[in-house]
Symmetry: C2
Subunit: 284 residues, 2 copies
């Protein structure tokens, strides 16, 4: 079985184009590299280098084996990176629960940085509704949660408000009747269909306030609004991103509403380094 040392020697020799250079690079003696390559050639029953000229060059078969060898080394270095991080106490998997309400540039930007910093760490994103979010964190099922701000939290939770204010405004399709009006008051609004968020656990209780269509995610609401089915409260960033020219904001008293977001975590199951890092990115 080809050992790591042998493969390293081979890869280095192949990329350097010289056994001696590879030896210098790896801090080994030249004979070690030579022996390593020779033993690899015997093990694989393949000629890897063409030694006829001054500088050994890879044979066609050697090129193929180089690719495979590099794949192995890359896999081992990933293992070692994971091991180092785990040894330092980084959590094996980070679970973040997000409210349907909360989707933001800040979070996405934080994830981009996160991917750079912890490329090997498994990430799990859960979507849940307010009370469920709290329970997920309390049970330790999620390390971190981002939820719409609330007045009271259980004592075992720690919270911190994210320095970001999403705005939720009312939108309709360009083609919709309401789109023509300069200003819209509550009564006129109630004459048209509302598109409203309803979580699965806690559905909207339709007290006949007018026709209401509901969906469990803002993206679905947005698509309904695009089709002109009614007006919908939507995060402004979502509209800018996915329906920039198709929807128009309504001017209604009390709208747009600011939404503040709290980060939650548990005192019992405090987030590890990766969770803390992500948290600090979100709070900075």
């Amino acid at each position: 079985m080809a050992s790591q040392e042998v493969l390293l020697a081979f890869v280095q020799a192949a990329t350097q184009g010289s056994f001696s250079a590879a030896a210098r690079k790896l801090g080994r003696s030249q004979s070690t590299i030579s022996a390593a390559v020779a033993s690899l050639e015997i093990d694989l029953d393949l000629q890897l280098f063409d030694r006829s000229s001054r500088k050994p060059t890879l044979t066609p078969a050697g090129h193929v084996m180089l690719q495979k060898a590099e794949a192995i080394l890359a896999a081992t270095s990933r293992l070692e990176m994971s091991a180092r991080q785990l040894a330092q106490g980084v959590e094996p998997k980070l679970t973040v629960a997000i409210s349907d309400t909360y989707q933001s540039y800040r979070f996405e930007a934080a994830l981009v940085d996160f991917e750079q910093r912890y490329p090997e760490l498994e990430l799990e994103c859960l979507i849940a509704e307010c009370d469920d979010l709290i329970e997920l964190v309390q049970r330790g099922r999620a390390h971190l949660a981002f939820a719409e701000m609330q007045d009271n939290y259980p004592p075992d939770l720690v919270t911190s408000t994210v320095a970001e204010r999403t705005e939720i405004a009312l939108f309709v399709s360009r083609e919709h009747a309401l789109a023509k009006l300069e200003h819209v008051d509550q009564q006129i609004l109630e004459q048209h269909r509302e598109l409203r968020l309803a979580t699965i656990v806690n559905p909207y209780d339709s007290r006949g306030k007018g026709r209401v269509w509901s969906a469990p995610s803002y993206l679905m609401l947005l698509e309904m609004a695009e089709k002109g089915f009614g007006w919908a409260p939507l995060p402004r960033w979502l509209v800018q991103r996915y329906a920039n020219d198709l929807l128009i904001e309504l001017d209604v008293r009390g709208w747009p509403k600011p939404v503040f977001v709290d980060a939650l975590w548990s005192r019992l199951y405090p987030p590890g380094p990766a969770g803390s890092w992500l948290l600090s990115k979100m709070l900075e």
Copy 2:
């Protein structure tokens, strides 16, 4: 550096849930597995197993490391598979050149089987025009070629006719004026724009036979025909696959034309096992 033996012991122990069982499976002594796991834990500075119960179970960190270790072992087994095949003389890379004229179910089916049989082998498909195809094979740049049948070939080439007949028929868009006609004769045809294949090397020399639009691939011609720009000779299978309902076949004397396909290879650079295998699949 974690050696292959140690990783194998770890993976086997983790999947078996028992060091002794892993030892039996690997044909090693129990102490070997125990020592291997212990040394891996020391090397990685991680607790991989929870030994408190009767059967050792993976820690969360152990689960992560198991994934990474399996990735390494998979990479090495791919290397070994490649090595075995190369040692048996399988070509490091298979290059197949195909005429623009020839695209078929048979070839695609052969490739599916090929992928099963030589999953690690690199495949290169070249598209070229008739004379270029022959030159590619003569030079050894391509191991195999599939080209429209021809009467004479250079003496250093071997040929065999593929038992498949592609039909090329004339098609126009449903919306095109010609689509209304039951039968079309040559004169009427010449009054409308022709969409014709022109290779890059050997462009269509437009002797004012009527307006002609040309493109270097049948797929592009097909799209032009869909748009209603004119009539085009197209392989029937291509139309069935990509424009089933949008194009209509014209009934013109002399059409559809059968196209026979020859497989070509060189006596000087005979195809290796993989090439021969693919060839036999194509000829069977």
